[in-house]
Symmetry: C2
Subunit: 343 residues, 2 copies
């Protein structure tokens, strides 16, 4: 490749890069309702709407085969993609799966991987309908595309949050990141002392959060049954801060986030203190929790408040007030994608 | 990975592997019309039908960045996927694109790649609606999913060929494979003598066939206008033999293929003789031509015979007669995925 000018990818960052490359992307089909820039795209098909999302998982970037059982990996590859469909308040129906596989894999190893894929398909009532399998010289490559359906214009984007809306999150946060730290530590210990077997028996919760995330189908289902239409929604793949900033940017608003309201599991708090990390920092910037972050109108407060799987963690403000974290100690910090900085 | 039994992937081959891994794939959604095993899947969406196909392109397996301009690669990544949609007699409408990119790429290099993607989208009136961009430690990874539409039950599979149907192919074959041999030769020469610049000026046709394949939208359009519904169809990504065997296996029939009828471009014949390769062998097992192979009823013979972009190359027989090549010299050979073997 010969470039007269060379701009490093790192100088733009992942989101900047996508924005840069797709800024001139004109969509011309009348059926294109929502294009690049949300959890999934929406296309009109014959009067009803389909929701589509694609993810790529690469060995050495997204997973380490040393501590990732292949069945779990197959399950997770499907789960994280379905999470994007649920984050549109849509129902996934189908997936395609493309794999790049090196010769070091046996057929039995791939069977294990597919067991996980099928387990996720069965659990979430989704059909595997196609794919591609190729040899790979460069590690295991997994690409999943999920397709879902939604009643016309009933999908939820990142861009509908309004001033005074309440910010909600499902489940608890930071566990996946701490689970990953734990696995990485045990890997280092094992590599240094192959005789010592890692003891993860007491850490099933944290290890499960990173190895077997569950998309929150139950939350979107409950919202639908309760008649609550969130004003915006996103799934938490990159950490609470980053996702909340996405919603605020897309919706042209600011926010106040209460540190004390951020839901954190006891096991995560204990592990964070063992690692001398802040549990809140893990929740804000850890990522991979695959919980749903969404905003609701104030009038839906009472309905949501009685659901123990959902925490109300802040509210939406005017854009000019910025995006801020109110700490338990009463200080105000500016939220950044990596967590926060003092203001 | 610990396996008690270890079966090598190579022992099954690509198609055997997919068959093995998906043999227990039950589809449960009422909307799933056609699942794994054709060029694309078909799902029912609200009374009309969508066609979906996914492909993975990996550096070092599917392309060599040393002689593949990134703009061409972007174009080809889209084109080969659209080819699968056309091979269902459907019209592509949308694509998603997932990329794994190493740090050695500059933003400008990626811009070039996207230029090719957008050029293909514009030419075939398809919208890029979503995707994923990730860093990659292991080469450039490209995954494209294409979505198309088709009137209810008007898609064409691999499995509808009937005895006495005529076998047709668009364009000419073997050129892409010979173009690839040429590029590989020039690469070796360049690596040995970096002072010698490759002269490919006179080989635009063959180089174009491998670097910038064109999906045959024109053929499916013409068939529709002419009121011809092929009984089966597949696109030629792996070579004529392999694809014809797919049709015969799926349709439970045999075939006779006439060597002398296989369309081969003059440039391909010349290059084949320069490489001391058979031009017919290149057509039968070379692959990457992205032409359409299809069967039609005898009654459509006259309409098709007058289209100079389509060659009639054989006919469908009873399964028990097997799949055979009749050579120009009058000999009968058994077709195999890799070309043919004497019978």
């Amino acid at each position: 490749m010969q470039d007269n000018t060379r701009t490093e990818i790192a100088s733009l960052g992942e989101f900047g890069l996508i924005e840069h490359l797709t800024k001139n992307n004109d969509t011309t089909n009348a059926g294109t309702i929502l294009s690049i820039g949300d959890d999934a795209a929406v296309i009109d098909q014959f009067g009803r709407q389909s929701v589509i999302s694609t993810d790529l998982l690469l060995e050495g970037i997204h997973f380490d085969l040393m501590y990732t059982p292949l069945k779990h990996l197959g399950y997770k590859a499907v789960a994280v993609n379905l999470s994007d469909i649920y984050a549109m308040m849509a129902t996934p129906t189908h997936i395609t799966l493309a794999l790049g596989v090196s010769n070091k894999f046996s057929v039995e190893a791939l069977e294990e991987f597919y067991e996980g894929v099928y387990a996720a398909c069965e659990k979430f009532n989704v059909d595997l309908i196609g794919g591609d399998t190729s040899s790979s010289k460069t590690g295991f490559v997994i690409s999943v595309t999920a397709i879902g359906e939604v009643a016309p214009d009933k999908y939820v984007t990142r861009s509908g949050a309004k001033v005074n809306d309440l910010i909600c999150v499902s489940g608890d946060l930071g566990g996946a990141y701490l689970g990953l730290q734990l696995l990485e530590r045990e890997k280092r210990i094992f590599l240094e002392n192959p005789g010592i077997q890692p003891d993860l028996e007491n850490q099933k919760y944290l290890v499960g959060r990173i190895l077997k995330p569950e998309p929150r189908a139950d939350i979107t289902e409950w919202l639908q049954e309760a008649g609550i239409m969130p004003t915006s929604m996103i799934d938490i793949s990159d950490g609470l801060s980053s996702e909340l900033l996405h919603i605020c940017k897309s919706s042209d608003v600011g926010c106040i986030l209460y540190e004390e309201k951020i839901p954190i599991h006891d096991d995560a708090r204990k592990m964070a203190s063992e690692f001398q990390l802040g549990a809140v920092a893990a929740a804000l910037s850890g990522g991979e929790d695959y919980e749903l972050l969404f905003t609701i109108k104030q009038e839906d407060y009472e309905k949501v408040a009685c659901n123990s799987n959902i925490s109300i963690i802040g509210y939406v403000t005017e854009k000019k007030e910025g995006c801020n974290l109110l700490t338990t100690g009463g200080n105000k910090h500016k939220l950044t994608a990596a967590g926060w900085t003092a203001v």
